[in-house]
């Protein structure tokens, strides 16, 4: 590649390749990113996005090809060298020290020193300068542990800029954010680009790409398929490029439903600390029905989910599962009664990252005490598990594989496989496709639909309104701990939901009976 081809790009990779064993993770990728642009990179899990970024950040060394920064070839042998070269990365899982303050985290490892001590004032001045330029107010003395995810992410970004970053790589930055936080972040990215910073945005959400990116590159099976200016492509074309000709998600027709499985009556909880009190929640889920609960973050959705799963802090009301009162029983007994739970946090609630897939599938309680002394495999032999992994299309997963070695989408498939292996009558699930690639997301949706067709009831908590609209027969909106709206899935628009989420009265008489 000649010099003029790399001109104008802050960073340029030339025929970069990387292979792990038999797997060609990245194949001859030549990608250029300009200063002052937001460059989105999309592709399924395992398409090579992460490996490519790891090469740019010095975590992984390329087998072939070269990296050029401002026209000069560089060797990035470690993240330290990459940072020195002006590259910053915000990971999907943050690398902040939770026990330290915001300011301490920002300057950690790059502290201005005066008389051998950290010059807090100078540190704060510089951090503040960056933050004000971006229009982000920050409480510098707050402990990071006490901050919500969205704020922690901004701290990460400022931390990177504090080190003089000129290229900022964000790996699925909105995966863990609420819609509001996502919107703010996207605005922030535009601000960074306006400040002549090159931004690489890795994401699964095409709407974000269309909203914020100047250009978009599509990766598939390790190769860079195409790069387009965002203005010249449609979401549909991008989906086709990403999927490589696979089928698109279809909206499910509304079906008549069966008997009432779950009846929640006048359920109320206490508020404590930051937790919202639930006020007299009524809801029902019938056999074969998918009911979605949507809310803007912090309106009681976490509290309702936990009350249904664990009975946390219930002060009044009843939860009936198949006419059995399960209001005050532990989760194990609820599961024996036919409820299964797929919690929202894959890494702290749903899966043992450091255990094998087989052990994850075998985790579960017992009905009678003497069953504690039975063999732990629960009749799930290696071959049964392998079969289930094929069924759920868990790529790169054998029964003995550690879950942490899987991509997010495949981890979620394992989590759903475990949940459904209990042959449940009711599935309680939260944000099943958050941070999951499009193809895996579709598989997860399809599985949930199939189970519903066979008569399982589903109560789906989600921040993703598209997900609610494409799956649910019934959509409930939570606002300040109460149900602010109840809609039929096939007769509701995004606008109706949005209004209810903000506590506004419905624009048209579209409310239906639950």
């Amino acid at each position: 590649m000649t010099a003029h081809e790399t001109e104008g790009n802050w960073i340029q990779t030339v025929h970069l390749s990387k292979r792990f064993g038999a797997n060609e993770a990245v194949r001859s990728v030549s990608l250029g990113v300009r200063a002052g642009e937001v460059h989105a990179i999309i592709g399924q899990n395992g398409a090579g996005k992460s490996t490519l970024m790891h090469m740019l950040f010095g975590v992984v060394q390329p087998d072939q090809g070269s990296i050029h920064i401002k026209g000069r070839e560089v060797q990035l042998r470690s993240p330290r060298q990459a940072i020195a070269a002006g590259i910053g990365m915000v990971h999907q899982h943050f690398s902040l020290a939770p026990g330290l303050s915001v300011l301490e985290n920002i300057v950690l490892g790059a502290e201005p020193v005066r008389y051998g001590l950290i010059d807090r004032r100078r540190a704060k001045e510089r951090a503040e300068q960056i933050a004000t330029q971006l229009g982000i107010p920050l409480d510098y003395d707050a402990k990071v542990a006490s901050l919500p995810v969205g704020i922690r992410q901004r701290v990460e970004i400022i931390k990177a800029l504090y080190r003089g970053t000129e290229l900022l790589i964000l790996d699925e930055p909105t995966a863990l954010l609420t819609p509001q936080e996502s919107r703010q972040l996207l605005g922030l990215l535009r601000g960074l680009a306006a400040g002549k910073i090159a931004v690489i945005l890795i994401t699964h959400k095409l709407a974000e790409v269309m909203e914020v990116a100047d250009r978009v590159s599509v990766m598939r099976q390790g190769s860079l398929i195409a790069t387009y200016p965002t203005k010249k492509v449609s979401e549909r074309l991008l989906t086709e490029l990403v999927m490589g000709g696979q089928v698109m998600d279809q909206v499910r027709p509304h079906r008549p439903s069966g008997d009432i499985l779950l009846a929640v009556q006048r359920l109320s909880t206490m508020s404590s600390g930051r937790r919202v009190a639930l006020e007299a929640i009524d809801l029902t889920v019938r056999a074969g029905e998918i009911t979605a609960v949507v809310a803007a973050a912090g309106n009681g959705e976490t509290e309702l989910f936990e009350a249904l799963a664990h009975g946390t802090e219930i002060t009044a009301g009843q939860i009936l599962l198949k006419e059995r009162d399960i209001t005050n029983v532990p989760l194990g007994s609820r599961m024996n009664a036919g409820l299964v739970v797929l919690p929202p946090d894959r890494h702290n609630q749903a899966l043992y990252l450091m255990a094998s897939i087989a052990d994850n599938l075998r985790a579960g309680s017992v009905r009678r005490w003497w069953e504690w002394f039975l063999p732990p495999d629960r009749g799930l032999s290696e071959s049964t598990i392998a079969q289930r992994l094929t069924e759920f299309n868990v790529m790169g997963g054998r029964p003995a594989t550690l879950v942490r070695a899987l991509s997010g989408g495949n981890q979620q498939k394992v989590a759903l496989a475990r949940t459904l292996s209990h042959a449940p009558s009711l599935l309680l699930v939260a944000n099943p496709t958050r941070g999951v690639d499009i193809a895996s997301g579709q598989l997860l949706h399809d599985r949930i639909r199939q189970e519903a067709l066979r008569g399982m009831g589903v109560l789906l908590f989600t921040y993703d309104l598209d997900e609610a609209l494409s799956l649910a027969d019934q959509i409930l909106v939570l606002y300040k701990g109460a149900i602010a709206g109840s809609f039929r899935g096939d007769r509701v628009t995004m606008q109706d939901l949005g209004a209810a989420m903000l506590g506004l009265p419905p624009t048209a008489p579209k409310e239906a009976n639950g």
């Binding site: 792990f20 194990g332 749903a350 043992y352 075998r362 017992v366 002394f373 039975l374």
Partner: protein
């Protein structure tokens, strides 16, 4: 040989070299010192019997720690539970029982286990109920238990024929029967083997042991999987305390035949180190326990030749431990990197 094996070997050779350096500072040559060490650790049936007998309490204390560590709670109160168990065994043992003599040793053992189990389960329950760190409560509990048993041995249960704070000799009916006369090998060895077997069975062949392991991996995920984490923690603490109490019973009924303050010496903490070293694997733990006992006995033999105090053995043990833990940390990091790249 690949890089990781070389590194492992280096971590083993390092403390061996340090130990050799230490032994060569004595009044004899290194070879003489080493042969004296090996002789009194392993050579001949008597030395082997002494090693096995010494290993018993170490292994029980180690298993006690391993059972709690596996489920993610740190029972550092093994010491206190050993002392409570030892005192319970001694008390039943020297009392003239209102029951047939053939039950005596068994009942003394059972009470020792029960006392240890109750104490440890209480620590687990306090942890679950009030969210108080079990590391703190269990360490503080050691003071309570050690001082309380010392008080009992000094006042109400003191042997009136002796000056120091010891209890009377346990009756012959309560002593573990010798398996091999003239050595310290007793029926207690059977109990140790049984304990290893039970822990192995629980850990690898039952849902209970599997669920303990899940708690140890991630308690939050375990609770979301519908498992009763509180009951799991408390039960694992109870078994841990029972094993520690059994260790105390073995010290009294099998080896010393009476209780005195300070009777357990470094056994409980050595046991905790064994559990850490063996990564809670029972068989490896038993093997390391035998090795440690052989080494400590060997150092006593070497002392006679070299005049190096046998307590220097503890120093070498600690060096070995640090080295082994560092070595394991290294290999773990290497594994972690492989998993990242995959």
């Amino acid at each position: 040989m690949n890089a990781s094996a070389t590194r492992k070997l280096a971590w083993i050779l390092l403390p061996v070299a340090l130990a050799a350096g230490l032994l060569s500072t004595g009044q004899t040559s290194l070879t003489e010192a080493a042969s004296a060490l090996l002789k009194s650790g392993f050579a001949g049936p008597d030395a082997l019997a002494a090693t096995v007998a010494r290993a018993g309490p170490l292994i029980l204390a180690g298993l006690a720690a391993a059972v709690s560590f596996r489920s993610g709670v740190m029972n550092l109160g093994v010491e206190g539970q050993v002392y409570l168990g030892a005192m319970a065994a001694a008390w039943v043992g020297f009392s003239h029982p209102p029951f047939p003599g053939w039950l005596h040793a068994g009942l003394a053992t059972l009470l020792a286990m029960l006392v240890g189990a109750t104490a440890a389960a209480a620590i687990g329950w306090i942890h679950e109920r009030f969210r108080i760190d079990e590391v703190i409560t269990s360490i503080m509990f050691n003071y309570l238990a050690v001082l309380f048993t010392a008080y009992l041995a000094t006042y109400p249960l003191k042997d009136p024929d002796r000056w120091s704070g010891t209890t009377p000799l346990v009756l012959p009916t309560a002593q573990y029967r010798p398996l091999w006369l003239g050595t310290d090998l007793t029926a207690g060895l059977v109990l140790v083997i049984l304990a290893i077997g039970v822990v192995l069975w629980l850990f690898y062949r039952t849902r209970l042991g599997f669920a303990w392991g899940l708690c140890g991996l991630n308690r939050s995920v375990t609770a979301w999987a519908g498992l009763p984490t509180g009951a799991l923690i408390t039960s694992s603490m109870a078994l841990s305390g029972a094993l520690a109490g059994l260790g105390g019973a073995l010290l009294v009924l099998g080896l010393h035949h009476r209780f005195w303050a300070g009777l357990a010496g470094s056994v409980p903490w050595d046991g905790i180190l064994l559990a850490l070293l063996a990564d809670n694997r029972p068989l490896l733990l038993a093997g390391l326990g035998l090795g440690l006992a052989a080494f400590l006995n060997g150092m006593t033999g070497a002392e006679a030749v070299t005049q190096i105090p046998s307590s220097m053995g503890q120093v070498i043990v600690v060096l070995f431990l640090i080295s082994a833990l560092l070595g394991r940390r290294q290999t773990r990091q290497a594994l972690g990197q492989e998993a990242e790249a995959a």
